[in-house]
Amino acid sequence: MTTTILSIKNKEGRIQKIAPYALLLPSLIVLGFFMFWPFLYTIYLSFFDWNMVSTTKEFVGFENYIDVLKDPVTWKVMGNTMLYIVLLLAVNFVVPYIFAYVVEFVLQRMKGFYKSAFFLPAFISLVVGSILFTWILNPVSGPVAIIAGWFNITIPIWSKLDGWVIVVITLITSWKIWGYHFILLFASISGISKEVIEAARLDNIPLWRIFFRIVVPMSSSTGIYVFIITIVQGLQFAFTPIKVITQGGPNYASSNVIYQAFHEAFVLYRTGHSAALSTITMIIFIFLLIVEFKFVERRIYYENK
């Protein structure tokens, strides 16, 4: 027992060095095999003309990239993607932020009920959601159209109209993911010390200022997370209603980058094009991630600072 202190220290030191890698190992293995490798493979494929099956793979250099960037459809889809992002953020970031704040600090009753009710649609898959909304929002004979008809309002045939189609698909997508974002933000906001808020209230500071001055900064670590998943997950979730309802149409008006990559790869079987488009998308996203790391991360409020 006399030498223990030293030996523990040595042992500890070694553990201290190996431990983090050991802890990361499971994630690294799984993500390495099932995420990194496919990604590297995709980059590799973006330099070839291939359809995944045929035995000949033709090296074409940057031709796929040039084709993709020259294709007007790509730019249309990029524009759509921007619109999706703006709408998704409005519905799934701004609204739940405000609602979470209201439920926690403005309301005194029914809090539990709201929390459960808001989360309910999350349990339903988007495939079901898409079929359901195809019926409910049928502009000719769905219940919404019938009710609107009583007031002499005609529902536009949204699935065939530019702009409208993105709005509706965003709403269907949001219907499912909204509640989760609410719960995340609510958990974070309810962690803010009550005393600070009460003190502000006693000083007669208006609610909206409390929200911007105190609540948003103090919940920013969750806020930034919800911001990012709204964009990234939101675009991926929108894939399902696009596929079920419009297949990207009319004339690509509802397609976003995720759907378009799928369309190129699995409908037209232009693997190289799809890979190039995916790679371009990844470069944009990773650029945003670097921006987040470099600039936003520093300003985020962590309680342990």
Partner: protein, 274 residues
């Protein structure tokens, strides 16, 4: 406190309307799962069926091994959720409480996988699963989903909120890492763990793109695949049976959620710990 009163009523009204819109499709699905398809087409407005029929459920259970399918779905969703949480928890712990070489680079690369669309991973992953001989098996569906960068990100964010001093004190007491994880960190990040688990579970429970590729025999099916069997553009979608499938699909995670709800919401409140 007086400021509140003025705002409370309008907000309650807004929330009620909002909830009505949110829940309408769910009641629609419930009502239509108890209608005949003919009724569904001809009375799109009324949610409550005039003649309640269990024919849709009957058809589902006679034409598919529905219990086995539900079980498969449950196994996949549970195993995926548990593993994702464990691997994410371990990784997040490493990122927050250790200083090591390449930390930022590894973190950056792991997190960047959040951005990878499934269109990239689908075929290469299928090649791996197929070469392992796991095609058409529940394990084939599970394997690529044992870790998730979203979980790492969320739990890292959560752990960063824990005062470092707590951990330092524990380390000075020669507390071992696994005990720090279990007794200090886990209780403090439990709200994040809970909400992430629920979300992972729901995601895995409803997933269809990947299982469609992997699973072949009906006995290995999951519920979202069973749903696909009632959707057809050419023959017409059997809307009411599809709704019956979705009611079953919805009911199990919902029951789990409601059973543990008191507890789950409790964890959110307990995050007030400073």
């Amino acid at each position: 406190m007086k400021i509140n009163k003025r705002w409370e009523i309008p907000w309650h009204i807004i929330f009620f309307i909002f909830i009505l819109v949110l829940l309408y499709p769910i009641f629609y699905a419930l009502g239509f799962s108890l209608k005949s398809l003919q009724d569904a087409y001809n009375s799109p407005l009324s949610i409550i069926p005039k003649n309640i029929t269990f024919e849709n459920f009957n058809q589902l259970f006679t034409s598919l091994p529905a219990l086995k399918i539900t079980w498969n779905t449950f196994v996949i969703a549970s195993v995926v959720t548990i593993f994702k949480i464990i691997t994410s928890f371990l990784a997040a712990y490493a990122f927050v409480y250790f200083i090591f070489k390449g930390k930022n680079v590894i973190y950056f690369f792991l997190i960047s996988t959040i951005f990878l669309p499934f269109t990239i991973t689908m075929i290469p992953n299928y090649l791996i699963i197929s070469s392992l001989g796991l095609a058409d098996s529940v394990w084939g569906v599970i394997l690529p989903q044992l870790a998730d960068a979203m979980g790492i990100f969320l739990l890292t964010q959560a752990m960063r909120s824990i005062p470092v001093s707590l951990i330092e004190v524990a380390r000075l007491d020669n507390m071992e890492h696994w005990r720090i994880m279990k007794d200090i960190v886990l209780p403090l990040v439990r709200p994040a763990v809970t909400s992430t688990s629920i979300w992972f579970f729901i995601m895995a429970w409803n997933e269809y793109v990947w299982p469609v590729l992997i699973l072949k025999t009906v006995d290995n099916y999951t519920l979202p695949l069973a749903l696909q069997m009632y959707i057809s553009s050419e023959g017409g979608t059997n809307f009411t049976v599809a709704m019956a499938v979705s009611v079953i699909t919805m009911i199990i995670p919902l029951t789990l959620y409601l059973t543990f709800q008191k507890y789950i919401i409790g964890t959110f409140v307990s995050s007030g710990i400073k």
